[in-house]
């Protein structure tokens, strides 16, 4: 069974919880992100998610592996939805199981932080007056990887 996934279908959180269930675990945390009616004073009718799928999958897999090692959790499953996600529907779900609750909370929180920084998924906010893609100004991870065009004179002549 896939431990990380991207899907166009509604996310089944019960399935996610069953994926991380284990007799070794005493603590289980499920986080879900859901579409809000309102963001920064703007009404949202729905969100639309797009992804660069191969990189998004490999980043989710990397984060999954890191979380297991870093927090010594028992199991972990992550699903991000793509396409149209209406108000109240789940866009992302992270489930973790751990021996004790401290690691369960810490790992789920860390995973959400990294997902929002590292995984190439974008949302478009749509309401009756229009739509726009969301590209946060303070995108922590990408800052390290971005660059300016800095052609040297030699290049211009070549």
């Amino acid at each position: 069974m896939l431990q990380v996934d991207l899907t166009n279908d509604p996310i089944d959180v019960s399935l996610l919880l069953s994926r991380v269930a284990s007799g070794l675990a005493g603590a289980n945390v499920l986080f879900t992100g859901t579409t809000r009616q309102e963001t920064d004073g703007l009404t949202t009718d729905w969100l639309e998610y797009d992804a660069y799928e191969p990189l998004a999958r490999s980043e989710l897999t990397r984060l999954h592996e890191q979380a297991v090692v870093r927090f010594q959790i028992v199991k972990c499953s992550i699903v991000h939805r793509l396409g149209k996600v209406s108000v109240g529907e789940v866009s992302v779900a992270v489930a973790v199981s751990a021996i004790h609750r401290a690691e369960a909370f810490a790992s789920a929180s860390w995973l959400m932080e990294r997902i929002k920084a590292d995984v190439p998924v974008w949302k478009r906010q749509v309401n009756e007056s229009g739509s726009f893609w969301v590209h946060p100004e303070n995108s922590e991870t990408l800052t390290r990887k971005t660059g300016q065009c800095s052609r040297e004179p030699f290049d211009e002549l070549s």
Binding site: Y52, L55, K123, H135, L142, T143, G147
Partner: protein
């Protein structure tokens, strides 16, 4: 078949590469994929070529990362002519 030797050679010669665009970058460019001419097969050169061809994306491009063959790439990374190149604007998943 492209070997690493071909890649090193292509690094010193001009040509074309395909670039995938997403989200706000694709919206501003009006296309989801395009071919651009480069003087060198490096990530930095692709960034410059895109900024020249699509001035409307220059600002968002400067806040974007570049991925090559499904990995985040550094600016000096050398490309093959058939590398999968993607512009990754600031992400907003979750």
């Amino acid at each position: 078949m492209v070997t690493s030797d071909d890649c090193l050679k292509s690094g010193s010669t001009s040509g074309e590469v395909s670039v995938k665009l997403f989200a706000g970058v694709a919206e501003l460019a009006g296309v989801k994929e395009l071919r651009v001419s480069v003087n060198r097969f490096t990530v930095a050169e692709v960034r410059c070529a895109l900024g020249t061809h699509l001035p409307q994306v220059a600002m968002l491009l400067s806040r974007s990362a570049i991925a090559v063959d499904g990995r985040y790439a550094t600016e000096d990374e050398v490309l093959c002519s058939d590398s999968e190149i993607a512009v990754i604007p600031p992400v907003s998943g979750g």
